[in-house]
């Protein structure tokens, strides 16, 4: 083959992640005199090896691909798949492939990556013994899994744990065997390893440490038997070796290119090998005695080499100092292994002389955090995080930019304990040069300049700046930079309610309160525009109710209400309604049960016990609602507000009255609380529960307000949530007497009503509250804002003006008029049709 006239040819051996990055960067140099040719031993172009494991959770090979044939063809990049380069002739400047192709090059790039290391163990080869590196390996493991019931990974490092996850996803009973005394010995210290091991055990993956496999023989119960040097053994059907990687440097070795003592192709700061026309990049390259087994350093090498290559091919003389250099890379990592967050930064083991470390194990939350700081306590040298890694982004920045730590560095471990007014993130303090996205080498300055150019949306910012498109580890940090830059530009983060009001809910609340506004039209007139919508109308209706407590079905308010509030019942998919009478604390007399039963029978309603300790009656036509409620009110029932953004239920347990463990009368307390707060309108629904002892039968710790009895009184928990995004409630105060308990709940509730956004449960509210729990305690317990009197007065007004909405409605003929399907006929909706299932009605 001959080179096309005048064109210089660059050959890239290996089309892996790094080889592909090199080609992309070289194309970006827009040098039309260069022709690119690449060879890959694999049958496909480059794919995302980092995300390889997602192949098992449903991603297809195309989802993973980084390069496409179409794009390569468009860009004029030539490629040969399934063909391995077997020799390099440096003097002729040619390469030869397995299939017999011989081509010459002007510049050659060796990007052959690495191969999994498989120790030579007798019996260590077999149909169901694998490695974990390529798509083909994954296919093979998948086939093995089909004829196996258990699998074992040899190697408890990063990749080993990923492989274990894969086996688990393939429904194999999984074990991990590690030679060292702990998991991930490179990245984690002993404590971190210990916690990780416990967490992995909890998800039913067996972990065996200090095991050295001596040989593999045929098993009896399973396909293979692994025999360890300590005499013990383990039987398994499938084995995956993940005992480390070795640079693939054979080609360089056989063509006399310098190789490191323990392998790896030696490169300089421009990624040139001992032959200046040959570069080496990625996992096969050895820089300064180090191999980098991560993709980000490989990408940096690719860029360095591509720019060097383009410049030296096009210019006679190149000013060396105008070229970028590879100067080493940080090996900090953050990963989710088997669903567990793990991160390691810098000197995780505290090996540096004089370094000091602080650590914190939360055995309840099962998290471990450690920081290693310099002797004078001013710099962060390293860190370990297991079980939760929110701090990774900000700690990495402290480390990389050698930023000054707070006076007491241990504060890093307890961000909540720090001053609530100071921002904990500190992205403002990062220099513009700080590298934020290490996968794509993007600095804070570059991100900020995109924002400055008008890109103010997180999704668009990701696309334009490229930050966050690799491993995703920097996404949170990029979000913080977006917020802080917008803030700097004087652009408020938009929390305007809707098109009709340029205010947040909390701002509208204050306006309505201070200006004493009593209805929607008045507010719209003075502070809004046009006619309103289904977002602002119910929100304002709720604020008016929280402040003045007028009847929600009174004339100016009725058309603002969500359909559920407008008919004091929950609309169902066929347009009928459900009826939920209040059953405070879930306590109900037999007589009341009988009334509910009779009504359900008479109106033929579907009856179900709810998850909130009460009874729901479904399938009522709109005209039946007043009839049903007349009967219920007469029997002493009140509305349950199942339809409202208001207090729902206060769940209880039987407590001291019956239970042999109870320490307080939880039932009476629950009934008291439910009667106290019923009917109060809030930004979202509010749920509570009271348990009689620490056994917690009422599940109080997943409620907005949870109360748990102690020997001395009550513990109050706040901001828990079940539902879509469960959140454990936080302990607000302990051993309270009845009076203080109620005072605190009164105050928190009004404070929440006043400051939360639309449809924000207390859980989300708490997370957006600057300073979090600590701040809330300051406000409620220490009266930091001097508003407690006001909060209590507001609560008193709401309690004093409570009326059962259904009772008020059935006694008002004007209001009852709306409860018919047709304004001009007594007929019912002919489209509502029921069938019968398990002796009750169901929508057809």
């Amino acid at each position: 083959m001959v080179t096309s006239i005048n064109k210089k040819r660059v050959i890239v051996i290996g089309n892996g992640m790094v080889g592909h990055k090199f080609i992309e960067t070289l194309c970006d140099q827009k040098n039309s005199d260069i022709e690119i040719l690449t060879f890959s031993e694999e049958p496909v172009l480059a794919y995302d090896r980092v995300q390889l494991s997602s192949y098992f959770s449903g991603e297809s090979a195309t989802d993973l691909s980084l390069a496409s044939i179409k794009k390569y063809e468009e860009q004029g990049i030539k490629f040969h798949l399934n063909d391995k380069v077997i020799s390099i002739n440096k003097s002729e400047k040619t390469v030869v492939t397995e299939k017999g192709i011989e081509v010459c090059y002007d510049k050659l790039v060796i990007a052959t990556g690495s191969t999994p290391f498989v120790p030579s163990i007798p019996g260590g080869k077999g149909e169901h013994i694998h490695v974990y590196r390529t798509l083909q390996d994954l296919e093979d493991i998948k086939s093995s899994a089909k004829v196996s019931s258990c699998g074992t990974v040899i190697g408890g490092g990063l990749l080993g744990l990923e492989a274990a996850n894969a086996l688990k996803q393939l429904s194999l009973k999984t074990s991990v065997v590690e030679f060292a005394p702990q998991l991930m010995p490179v990245q984690l210290d002993k404590e971190g390893g210990k916690l990780l091991r416990k967490k992995i055990k909890d998800i039913n993956v067996d972990v065996l440490t200090e095991k050295n496999t001596k040989k593999i023989t045929q098993g009896t119960a399973h396909r293979y038997r692994m025999e360890f040097t300590d005499g013990s053994q383990l039987e398994t059907d499938t084995i995956v070796f993940s005992a480390g990687i070795r640079p693939q440097d054979e080609l360089a070795r056989s063509s006399d290119i310098s190789i490191g003592e323990r392998g790896g192709i030696i490169i300089d700061d421009y990624c040139q090998t001992s032959d200046k026309d040959i570069y080496s990049i990625g996992e096969c390259a050895l820089w300064n005695g180090k191999i980098y087994g991560l993709v980000a350093p490989g990408y940096q090498m690719a860029k360095t080499a591509a720019i060097h290559c383009a410049k030296t091919l096009s210019e006679e003389k190149v000013e060396k100092d105008t070229l970028p250099c590879f100067t080493g890379a940080d090996m900090s990592t953050k990963l989710k292994l088997l669903g567990i967050d793990v991160a390691s930064i810098g000197d995780a083991h505290g090996k540096q002389e004089g370094s000091k470390s602080y650590s914190f194990t939360d055995s309840k939350a099962q998290t471990y955090k450690k920081i290693v700081v310099s002797e004078n306590g001013e710099l962060l040298l390293g860190a370990v995080l297991v079980g939760g890694a929110e701090e990774y982004g900000s700690w990495l920045q402290l480390y990389l930019n050698e930023m000054q730590l707070p006076e007491y560095p241990q504060q890093l471990l307890f961000p909540y304990a720090a001053d609530p007014d100071s921002t904990t993130t500190g992205v403002e303090n990062l220099p513009d040069s700080a590298q934020i996205c290490s996968c794509n080498d993007i600095s804070k300055g570059e991100i900020a300049s995109c924002i400055g150019k008008g890109i103010h949306d997180a999704g668009a910012l990701k696309q334009v700046s490229n930050a966050g498109t690799g491993c995703g580890g920097c996404v949170q940090l990029v979000g913080q930079i977006l917020d802080s830059e917008l803030n700097k530009l004087g652009i408020e983060i938009n929390n305007e309610l809707c098109d009709h009001f340029s205010y947040s809910r909390a701002e509208l609340f204050d306006i309505i309160k201070i200006k004493n506004i009593k209805n929607f039209d008045e507010l719209l007139d003075k502070y809004g525009q046009r006619s309103g919508c289904e977002i602002c109308k119910p929100t304002v209706a709720s604020i008016l109710a929280s402040l003045w407590n007028d009847q929600i079905l009174d004339t100016p308010h009725v058309t603002l209400q969500d359909s559920n509030d407008a008919f004091l019942a929950n609309i169902q998919k066929d347009g009928t309604y459900s009826v939920v009478p209040r059953v405070p604390g879930g306590e109900i007399t037999p007589d009341k049960l009988i009334v509910i039963g009779e009504i359900a029978k008479e109106f033929s309603l579907y009856t179900k016990i709810t998850g909130g300790q009460r009874i729901d009656l479904f399938g009522a036509h709109v005209h039946q609602l007043p009839q049903i409620w007349k009967r219920l009110v007469n029997a002493g029932f009140e509305t349950g507000h199942a339809y409202g953004k208001a207090l729902r239920t206060v769940k209880s347990c039987v407590g001291t009255n019956w239970c042999r463990f109870g320490v307080q009368d939880s039932t009476s307390m629950a009934i008291f609380l439910e009667n106290r707060y019923r009917g109060i309108r809030s930004p979202h629904k509010v749920k509570m529960a009271v348990s009689g002892c620490a056994r917690e039968c009422a599940e109080a710790q997943c409620k907005d307000f949870g109360v748990i009895a102690t020997e001395k009184g009550w513990n109050l928990y706040v901001a828990g949530n079940g539902g879509m995004r469960p959140r454990h409630a936080e302990l607000f105060a302990t051993d309270l007497n009845d009076e203080i308990l109620i005072k605190y709940i009164d105050r928190i509730m009004i404070f929440y009503i006043r400051t939360a956004e639309r449809l924000q449960r207390t859980s989300v509210w708490m997370e957006t509250l600057k300073g979090g729990l600590n701040y809330l305690q300051e406000v409620i317990i220490k009266d930091k804002l001097k508003i407690n009197n006001e909060l209590e007065e507001q609560m008193k007004l709401l309690i004093d003006t409570y009326q059962c909405e259904w009772e008020a409605t059935i006694n008002d003929p004007e209001k009852l008029k709306r409860f018919s399907h047709f304004v001009n006929s007594k007929e019912t909706d002919p489209k509502v049709i029921f069938t019968t299932e398990r002796e009750q009605i169901q929508p057809a």
Binding site: G532, G575, F822, N824
Partner: protein, 112 residues
């Protein structure tokens, strides 16, 4: 028969910025009282997206100045002027001629 107007109810039976449903020639028709803006509007009561007869029970509002009702079931917006569903192109409900004469709301006789 066409062009005849049928008496339905009094305008005071519909709260301002509220709605009712009428049985009209065997059809369910939602009537919206925008009288504080000098108008009544009328579209079909059946929500073809949620498949239930509920549009008269939605909240009335505007989307960039267009009068709409938001379905109480899944909040899709239907234009009170054209019957179009703003979220799903191609979905449209019937619009009915409606007027107020001497405070009586009237719908026009439908084609037979």
């Amino acid at each position: 028969m066409k062009n005849e107007w049928v008496d339905i109810c009094d305008i005071n039976d519909i709260p301002p910025m509220g709605a009712v449903c009428a049985l009209h020639d065997g059809k369910q028709v939602a009537i919206f009282n925008l009288s504080n803006q000098g108008e009544v509007k009328s579209i079909c009561n059946y929500d073809p997206v949620s498949k239930a007869s509920v549009l008269s029970r939605g909240i009335i509002g505007d989307i960039e100045g267009r009068h709409v009702v938001s379905s109480p079931l899944h909040k899709q917006h239907f234009s009170l002027d054209t019957g179009e569903c703003l979220q799903h192109e191609g979905i449209k409900v019937n619009v009915y001629p409606v007027r107020v004469v001497n405070s009586r709301v009237q719908l026009q006789q439908l084609d037979s």
